[in-house]
Symmetry: D2
Subunit: 140 residues, 4 copies
């Protein structure tokens, strides 16, 4: 494990960019800082539900990624996080071709972490609010 | 709009089976009854997160589909539902190659609906519990 | 029903101050503005749980009041709100003798409202975060 | 700490019955079994909100007690639980003079517990559904 916090962030960023899940989903990492993360999804036809809106599962996935990655930036080397709970409030049907998920850690204790995310569209309109609880452990 | 409830269910089923979203995601409709719905996801490598577990966003998507489709089976012709809120409790990391989402409507009022879902793995082990709130409208 | 928004707020404030529930609970209204509300609870022995901490039900009650009253300040005369859903994240065991609930409306549509609350202690430490969904109606 | 599970339950029951919080609130313990707990609240005028319905905070308190006490019945001697998160779905305005909260543990792991509760009125009508997440520790 590399020594500095910057190296740990760089390593995490490389792993996210290489992630098959994010590539397949169409989720792009915009910014990865300590405590706060930004991801984006370019909305395609395949992401929409039966009535033509962005599927709630896609919004949930963006929120889950944004909160989970933000939490991960706070962990010491060798520590792990598991998402215990996620709640989502859908505030507007999306307009435009892109959504952005902004996750930030509100509390990182020894055993429990808590993070929130805004999901906004291109015009900055609030599409959803999310909150997530994490169990933090000393690794497997 | 077709007359009978059976025809409405059959029409809904055909639309789900033709859905680009479900095809792309890998979500399959197992059963669509009035009030209760079952969907499945065959877990592939692309569905997993950085540590090799099924991504929380996939579980959220299965739960969102299971609750939303269950709600839709309860609507009179011309009525619509919008998901207002979804909460998820992740209870176990998934084992096996398939998860099943079982959604059922607990309450369908004139303006508000409420549904829950179990997400289980192949051995019937509970992977997640979900609850969703819907706004029910007279359509657009 | 009085004409101006100020008069409606003053009338609401008078009703809250006269409320038997708030008096019995020990909840005090600190500030009632359009969209944002502040309430306080002076913690007494009767408010604590088996291990001596402020009971989660009290924190929930403060959060429910703060979000619900904030929502009420946004309603046109004759309109009503019903709380559909409330979620709470408990972030710290309380210290000190007083908690403050700060509710604010994030979204007020025609049929659905969404509000959040911070619950803090005397030192401004975040004790809990809450979010609530409301059904908004034209009254009974 | 007493040896047997029965004695631990009896001791917990005695502490709940002597609790100033439950006495002041008007919450009565109906049944305390391993994994499942039932509590009741006789609704008085002081428990109602500005429009005459049972206050959401009271329903939250009953749900918090029912889930938290159920969780406590599962703990080995010397172990502790802390409520991390609680979510509530309000499904009907209450009728009648009494509500009952039925809590049951769905999952009790080494570090995380999960419990749910139904809140029903005298006629068995579902008033609310609740879910709670707990951090389980080896005590202070």
């Amino acid at each position: 494990m590399t020594g500095s916090a910057d190296e740990a962030l760089a390593e995490l960023e490389a792993r996210i960019r290489a992630s098959e899940f994010h590539g397949w989903m169409g989720i792009e990492l915009l910014e990865l800082g300590r405590r706060a993360v930004e991801v984006a999804l370019d909305v395609e036809d395949r992401h929409t539900n039966l009535v033509g809106h962005l599927h709630g599962g896609m919004i949930a996935t963006v929120a889950d990624s944004a909160t989970g990655l933000a939490m991960r930036t706070m962990l010491e080397p060798g520590r792990d996080h598991v998402t215990v709970q996620l709640d989502l409030h859908f505030l507007a049907a999306t307009r435009g071709a892109r959504i952005i998920g902004r996750g930030r850690v509100v509390r990182a204790g020894r055993r429990i972490g808590y993070a929130e995310a805004d999901v906004v569209d291109e015009e900055g309109r609030l599409v959803a609010r999310a909150a997530a609880t994490f169990l933090l452990t000393d690794g497997s």
